[in-house]
Symmetry: C2
Subunit: 431 residues, 2 copies
């Protein structure tokens, strides 16, 4: 087997004539999804509180699950015996899983990173768990997603000593690396991670048992240093695979840094393969990435912020420039408007979805605020539904902007994302 397989296919449908943006379709054995795509995150095999039917009604076509969480509980072998993760969670569309590496680094006490893999303690049982490229592939083969991610070495992108990040433990772990008690400088560690990521990708590709049903994506590393990114793209994309991702961003850098790295890196990646920017989810950052040629995104923002009573809205005026309104705010106590005017989600326009409603009334801000104040589950659920749809509406408009090269129009309709449109494109609005 050549390790590429035919698990998915990707075709570009439209290209912007003024930037790297494109629209396309990824076809998998569980249906297709349009790109640029936003994938909601179903960490433990469920998008918190949201039924598969509601995910689909919101417009999402592909969802992400976290290998780390499913490995710890209920275990990938148990899910395999259930017929795989699609059947387990009752989602019949495309699913992507990450490798488990990022959570192993960021959530667990790491015992050791070495050339072979990572040893960490389960946050549930305290038992030691060993993740290697081979183990990650076996686990993802057992879970059975349509797209699986390579197991990579993802150190902090900024020097941990430069700021109070929560990643000191990664640094410490790095210092314990190699069994030779050698402490690396930040720069040395970045070089090691870059090279190791390539070596691990090679092992992933060889260990991957189901290339004809599951597509393995490689991950480009290299931190915020553009030369390292160039080098990593070259090494990673030299290994033939059905898709590639940009990793090691959204791990603490500024939006400007994200954008700088993505604008540099994405155009270097193969034209004919989907490009996935891992974990990036602020509308502005996604739009900037689309203009650089990125096709896929995931982020917990719509659901996490939904649970915390933060509803995304387009209007910067109304949100005080934040792009979100906080439903717990007392000013909403008697506000009979929907979360957002003109939104077509189940919360803002329930009759459109065949839900009972008096005279087409929305779920009002007043009601949703009450639900949060009263600690009623329906509050987090309604705002999560709204936010998930907000992201899909943005993606629909992004795809239309590509087709018409109407970037000014996109920036006007989505003021919170406007900063992501490169300045030179803002002049090119449709007349």
């Amino acid at each position: 087997m050549n390790g590429v397989g035919e698990a998915i296919s990707f075709r570009v449908e439209q290209r912007s004539s003024v930037c790297g943006a494109r629209t396309g379709v990824v076809e998998t054995r569980h249906g297709s999804f349009a790109t640029p795509a936003f994938m909601p995150v179903g960490t433990k095999g469920s998008i918190k509180g949201i039924f598969p039917k509601q995910i689909r009604e919101g417009g999402a076509e592909c969802v992400l699950n976290n290998t780390y969480h499913l490995l710890l509980r209920p275990g990938s072998e148990l899910i395999q015996r259930r017929g795989g993760v699609h059947r387990f969670m009752n989602w019949d569309g495309p699913i992507l899983t990450d490798s488990g590496g990022y959570q192993a680094y960021s959530m667990a006490d790491i015992n050791a990173i070495d050339e072979d893999g990572v040893t960490f303690k389960s946050i549930l049982t305290g038992e030691k768990i060993r993740l290697t490229p081979e183990v990650s592939m076996r686990v993802q083969n057992q879970l059975g997603p349509d797209i699986m991610m390579a197991f990579d070495d993802c150190p902090p992108s900024v020097d941990p000593e430069a700021g109070p990040t929560n990643q000191t433990r990664i640094r410490l772990a790095a210092e314990r690396d190699t069994g030779k008690s050698k402490a690396y400088s930040h720069e040395e560690r970045l070089d090691l991670a870059l090279e190791r990521t390539t070596r691990w990708l090679d092992r992933c590709k060889r260990a991957h048992a189901n290339p004809d049903t599951q597509a393995l994506f490689g991950i480009v590393q290299g931190g915020t240093d553009l030369d390292r990114r160039t080098r990593s793209v070259r090494e990673v994309c030299d290994i033939e695979l059905p898709g590639y991702a940009i990793g090691g961003v959204a791990v603490g850098e500024s939006g400007d840094d994200i954008s700088r790295v993505v604008r540099h890196t994405a155009p270097l990646m193969p034209e004919d393969k989907p490009r996935y920017l891992m974990g990036v989810g602020y509308p502005r950052d996604m739009v900037a990435a689309v203009c650089a040629g990125v096709d896929m995104f995931d982020c917990v923002l719509p659901t996490r912020n939904g649970r915390n009573a933060n509803a995304f809205v387009r209007s910067m005026e109304e949100s005080g420039g934040r792009g979100q309104i906080r439903l717990r705010n007392a000013k909403f106590a008697e506000d009979d408007r929907p979360l957002e005017a003109d939104c077509d989600c189940q919360a803002c326009d329930p009759t459109r979805h065949g839900w009972p409603s008096l005279d087409g009334s929305p779920f009002t801000r007043a009601y949703i605020r009450h639900l949060f104040q009263a600690d009623e589950m329906l509050g987090p659920l309604l705002v999560s539904l709204h936010n998930l749809r907000f992201y899909q509406r943005l993606m629909i408009d992004v795809r239309a902007a590509v087709a018409n090269d109407d970037w000014l129009g996109l920036a006007r309709r989505w003021p919170g994302a406007a900063a992501g449109v490169p300045t030179e494109l803002m002049a090119l609005g449709a007349e």
Copy 2:
């Protein structure tokens, strides 16, 4: 105004020829509901975690809200300004509210019960709140349900000293009653409650501002003493109203006591008005009550137990005689069956509801167990949906049993409810 109004109408459709059971329809200004009816409880203006559309898909036609909770937060005046509780919670079907009295007694530190009303401390703010028949009517008029309940005096039905109930505080409050520092015996307190309930009902009827749009139901009291029940029925039903309820049951007595009181009381209540048994929700007790002529029920059991991972199932074998299975049990970890075979709910038969599913798979016990173990909201939601539908399926079969007088068949299909079918009816099964 005569206080009866035409807010609702009730017609009996079929009567059992062998017991007091009947089917019927209650028509309200927000649509009708078939009886015998089970009303799910939306305590604070939402049925915990369940969307109005899902409530309707589960077959419930009328829902209950708690006046006490809505009065404390967000306040009945705020809800009135929102256009009433239907619009507030986006439920366009019939709504019933209780009077607030029961929660004031059972959840709050009571400062005093006297002939005029009850003073209690808000569990939210600690402020003193005064509930009287007039206040309860004003609050329910502001909330705007289709059916509102009289404000009654509901003492513990069994002597608090006879058992370790949590109602000692009610007893203590009773002893502080009258401002004369007089301590009542349990018997004296019951007599007082009975007479006071009648006096308060009279005040309720006079204070009720909207008899043409909201139906006021009187409540029969009298504890477990059948003579007192007879007396209370006579006094309460002498006040003409569109419906009547049996109160003061399901407050700590045994199932046998509930059944004995209901079998005695229901037949004494007017034939042509709906009869509502408040708070009773075990299938067996509901079936016994139906056979005595009761038309309406409410209970938190399906949703509360759903949140606690207890799924109702008909099979007594499978549930070890409990009528429920505990999804947290390790034996379900690899159980690929639905919560209940042949159930048509969204959890057990998602494709029937147009939900995504692989080959029509249900949400399995294995998945639902995982969701509870992982503290994922979807677990409580799926089991709540199942339990709500379980109750409606029971009601559908109960209505069919009335039409065919097939009580043996009902008992066979619903073994957990079989004990509710009077012995003499068990011989009358359809051949």
